[in-house]
């Protein structure tokens, strides 16, 4: 059953349809929230808030648009609000004092680092730490792209930026991680 079918069933009075819908998206939404905020307790709180917002706004949901994009947008906004409140918006360690990132002009293919195939053990934790240091939009793009959940276009709708900007964020994220590993 598609997301829209479940939503229609729920709005017609089938309570189990909502439970199925939440069950379908719980893991990806929790994972996304976890990647943005960095700990399980906060990711739980954010996930609860997201699904509560989804439930409250189901009647207003525009079914001509993708439900997946909609729920990930809500998650992104909720997590960003949370990070703002905690004043944990992290800026890139690779920008100079003028806010420029010299790596952004470097050519790079839109493929994830081949080096990642070789990392193991504690290097995985180092990579996770490096990802945490990326700006939230870079992390958002990287995670959503690499888990295979969404296209660049869909990610652009979520972060409300043009597709070229999304690709640029992705490129910069990869370059940042590559530089981190080359240290």
């Amino acid at each position: 059953m598609t997301d829209k079918d479940l939503i229609s069933k729920y709005l017609e009075g089938d309570e189990s349809a909502l439970e199925l819908l939440i069950g379908r998206y719980l893991k990806p939404i929790y994972s996304f929230a976890y990647r943005l905020v960095g700990n399980s307790q906060d990711a739980e709180d954010i996930s609860q808030e997201v699904f509560l917002k989804v439930w409250k706004n189901l009647k207003k949901y525009n079914d001509t648009k993708s439900f997946k994009t909609w729920i990930f947008t809500i998650t992104k906004n909720t997590a960003y609000d949370f990070l703002r409140k905690k004043k944990e918006i992290v800026f890139s360690d690779f920008e100079n004092d003028d806010g420029e990132n010299n790596l952004e002009d470097s050519p790079v293919s839109l493929e994830i680092l081949p080096e990642l195939a070789l990392i193991k053990g504690e290097d995985v934790a180092i990579l996770e730490e490096a990802i945490k240091k990326l700006p939230p939009d870079y992390r958002t793009v990287l995670f959503l792209k690499e888990t295979g959940e969404l296209t660049f276009e869909e990610i652009g709708e979520i972060i409300n930026k043009p597709m070229n900007t999304v690709k640029s964020h992705y490129r910069r994220a990869i370059l940042s991680l590559r530089k981190w590993f080359s240290k």
Binding site: E15, L18, E19, I22, G23, L26, K27, P28, Y30, S31, Y34, S40, A43, E44, S47, Q48, F51, L52, W55, K56, I112, L113, L116, A117, L118, I119, K120, V124, L127, E128, I131, L142, F143, E146, T147
Partner: protein
């Protein structure tokens, strides 16, 4: 296993998270239903008052109208009514207090709708809590 994907894999949420979310939604529904029940009860009370007023007024106007007189004749002397049925029907239709009856109908409808709304909210409040297993 491709090490690349370890960093980007989905993370399993705590087992009780789904149940917690459903419980939170149920609690929110009940809270919302309580508030709506309060206001809809006020709505029932006020629409009942309006209905009573509209009913009394409609009856008063009806008793004073020619329609009441004609209907009395209809009931007391049916043979007369049959003989002059078309004239009587026209007379009754002309003298009916249409506006007052329309107001009474609207007040009745509003009262029934408010009752229906109260019943819906009561059934929302009596939702059983569901926890995911």
């Amino acid at each position: 296993m491709d090490q690349k994907h370890i960093v980007f894999k989905h993370i399993d949420p705590p087992k009780e998270l789904l149940g917690g979310i459903l419980l939170k939604i149920d609690n929110q529904k009940k809270k919302s239903a309580r508030i709506k029940l309060f206001f809809s009860s006020l709505g029932v009370a006020s629409s009942l008052g309006v209905f009573a007023l509209a009913f009394n007024y409609a009856m008063e106007v009806f008793y004073q109208s020619g329609a009441y007189t004609y209907m009395s004749i209809l009931l007391s002397d049916p043979s007369f009514a049959v003989s002059y049925s078309s004239e009587m029907a026209l007379s009754i239709a002309e003298s009916l207090p249409i506006l007052e009856l329309a107001i009474l109908l609207f007040a009745t409808f509003a009262f029934l709708e408010s009752i229906k709304y109260v019943i819906e909210n009561i059934s929302n409040l009596s939702l059983k809590k569901r926890l995911a297993v």
